[in-house]
């Protein structure tokens, strides 16, 4: 019997990509996707269910659809997307509900893959050049997104301990750049000028968006248990990142940086959250060797991810961003999936 997968955050970039990837896998029998918003990519056979922010209906779905694998892509790592309170609700309460559903008596769940972020390591002047999966962060979390991710990871660790029969994979991704994804970092690089903190040229690490999806797929398919850092090889200075992208650098003052960044946010020019400002000061590196030893190969290095982003950026600057190719229409999706009028050719 094939696998029955539940994806949280189907409407997000990762949820949608992950569903597409799993649809190509003949071993995956059924895919249910959950989100507060409709999917943003075209899907062939994934069933979309609208949920509230904290996923209170999750345990019913898990039981009804006999889900054996949960891919949790819905942890919010970009704090510019929602308020601190909503972010906490999604990350902490959402994860709690998810784990409660997976650990209820008789639940069929056998694998959980969680997409977390290297934000859990923070970014401080006391950091080592490379964080291994065991390296503790050097200071208490300073932002809401960091503390909510740490809390969610804490629940997951408890869950893994209490449920040894479930394969738990926790993936911590470095900053993502790619052709399509929009993050606070990509927005900082999108314009003609990018910000930097005067006197600082931190070493950053990136992972390409395609590698992220391939990694989620790899871990889901092979049931790789444990905590893994996911990031391209190498680190490169922010000045080099800007150079590859062809943007000029505009200095922010090294003292009272967040005060200087506030008007940029108010004017709607650029949202530089606290965690990005500290990243622009001290950078962060995560050791990706454990996942490579588990058999995963990256297509892009950190610099490769930046270059791939830069190419897409140049195209966008020339022809503008492409209009969305797909909008979710409930009735249309239902028609293709369930209507007896649709002729299906199983053996064709």
């Amino acid at each position: 019997m094939g696998r029955r997968v539940l994806i949280t955050g189907l409407g997000t970039f990762w949820g949608g990509r992950m569903a597409q990837a799993l649809e190509r896998d003949p071993d995956v029998e059924m895919i249910v996707g959950l989100d507060t918003v409709t999917p943003s990519v075209a899907l062939e056979r994934t069933e979309y269910v609208r949920a509230d922010q904290s996923y209170s209906i999750l345990s019913r779905i898990v039981r009804a659809a006999q889900v054996d694998t949960i891919v949790h892509t819905f942890l919010v790592v970009d704090s510019t997307r929602m308020s601190g309170r909503a972010l906490n609700e999604t990350n902490v309460i959402g994860t709690m509900n998810l784990l409660a559903a997976a650990s209820s008596a008789g639940a069929p769940v056998r694998q959980i893959v969680v997409k977390s972020s290297s934000l859990v390591y923070g970014s401080s002047f006391q950091d080592p050049v490379w964080f291994r999966e065991e390296t503790p962060r050097t200071g208490p979390p300073g932002t809401r997104v960091e503390s909510s991710l740490l809390e969610a990871e804490g629940y997951l660790r408890d869950f893994a301990e209490d449920n040894p029969h479930v394969v738990v994979s926790l993936l911590r991704f470095a900053n993502v750049l790619g052709t399509e994804i929009v993050t606070a970092t990509s927005q900082a690089l999108e314009r003609q000028t990018a910000p930097y903190v005067f006197g600082f040229d931190p070493l950053l690490q990136f992972v390409e968006e395609g590698d992220v999806v391939r990694c989620l797929e790899f871990v889901t398919r092979h049931g790789v248990a444990g905590i893994y850092n996911v990031a391209g090889d190498g680190r490169l200075p922010w000045s080099e990142v800007a150079h590859i992208c062809g943007t000029r650098l505009l200095p922010l003052p090294p003292v009272l940086t967040n005060v200087a960044a506030a008007p940029l946010r108010q004017l709607g020019l650029l949202d530089l959250p606290a965690e990005l400002l500290s990243l622009l000061r001290f950078g962060r590196g995560i050791d990706n060797r454990r996942l490579k030893e588990a058999g995963f190969t990256y297509r892009y290095t950190s610099a490769g991810a930046v270059e791939n982003f830069a190419r897409a950026r140049r195209l966008r600057r020339t022809v503008g961003s492409a209009p969305p190719e797909y909008t979710y229409e409930r009735d249309v999706e239902a028609f293709f999936r369930h209507s007896p009028a649709v002729v299906r050719h199983p053996e064709a």
Binding site: P128, W130, F198, G199, L203, F336, R344
Partner: protein, 294 residues
């Protein structure tokens, strides 16, 4: 019958909503398109070469550096170099790094208090020139995995932060962390006794209130300030004669990569190295006829 099976059977081989087939993803790794030569530690060999060009005359004509026992520094494999630390803005680190890079052609990574990373411009420059935050994980990777030469000053900021009247009296060697670094990495410790740095920028007094306000370990008032004025005196060294003596490498008969090492053993080894370094410093000072001419 579990929900979902009804259409799953129909979907398995063919899609319900036919989509354009995606082009096959190749999985071959792509090339690394780096533009600069800044390595993972933040060091740039190019910047280092420029710095060596600029620093060369200072090294040869100003400090007139003389080495003893340079052959004791291994030409391959990792080793932890340990030296006494002095001068308000330490002049010993660049001398040791420059000297070894010129003479042996090997890069030296200098471990420094991570506070340096918080200083704009200076922190970045220090990092490009081979400075690395003194985190045990950094030391392990540099020494064990990359088999590099790493320089550390076990006195930390207590060395350069001391007053001129305390010159050449070694401070406490921290908690012996450097010995643990070497044990864990399985590399020898090579002590280097440095004479001359103390007189290149002697600290006469300190302003603790200002240091607290600025968040730095100390704010010195140096003899250089009095002689060269407050601006030039902050960066200009006196032409003290530098003599460096490399002592015999110390190896530890312990297995590497252990989680912990006996604290008493670590402290003993640290103290042994401190005493040896102190004795050699006194010995070198006994032979020194002039601060300026050696």
């Amino acid at each position: 019958m579990p929900a979902g099976d009804r259409f799953v059977e129909a979907t398995r081989p063919a899609a319900l909503v036919p989509l354009r087939p995606r082009e096959a993803d190749t999985e071959a790794p792509l090339e690394d398109p780096r533009l600069s030569d800044v390595d993972e530690w933040g060091r740039s060999e190019h910047m280092r070469a420029v710095a060596r060009q600029i620093y060369g005359p200072l090294y040869r004509q100003w400090f007139r550096v003389e080495w003893q026992g340079l052959e004791k520094i291994p030409t391959s494999g990792g080793a932890l170099l340990v030296a006494n630390h002095a001068a308000a803005i330490p002049s010993d680190a660049p001398v040791i790094m420059h000297g070894i890079e010129e003479e042996l052609g090997r890069p030296v990574y200098g471990l420094a208090d991570h506070i340096f990373k918080t200083f704009p411009v200076i922190g970045t420059m220090w990092s490009r020139l081979g400075g690395v935050a003194a985190h045990p994980e950094n030391a392990f990777r540099l020494l064990r995995e990359q088999r590099q030469l790493v320089l550390v000053f076990p006195e930390g900021t207590k060395g350069p932060g001391k007053l001129y009247q305390d010159r050449y009296r070694l401070r406490r060697f921290g908690r012996g962390g450097f010995v643990e670094m070497a044990m864990r990495a399985g590399v020898p410790i090579v002590p280097i006794a440095v004479v001359g740095a103390e007189e290149s920028m002697p600290t006469l007094a300190k302003v603790p209130a200002l240091a607290r306000a600025l968040g730095v370990p100390y704010v010195p008032i140096t003899a250089n300030h009095l002689v060269f004025g407050p601006v030039v005196g902050t960066v200009a060294y006196f032409p003290a004669k530098f003599k460096l003596r490399v002592l015999d490498p110390v190896t530890f008969q312990v297995p590497p990569e252990q989680e912990r090492y006996s604290k008493s053993r670590v402290m003993d080894e640290a103290e042994t190295i401190r005493v040896k370094l102190q004795d050699n410093l006194y010995d070198m000072l006994r032979d020194r006829r002039s601060v300026w001419f050696g």
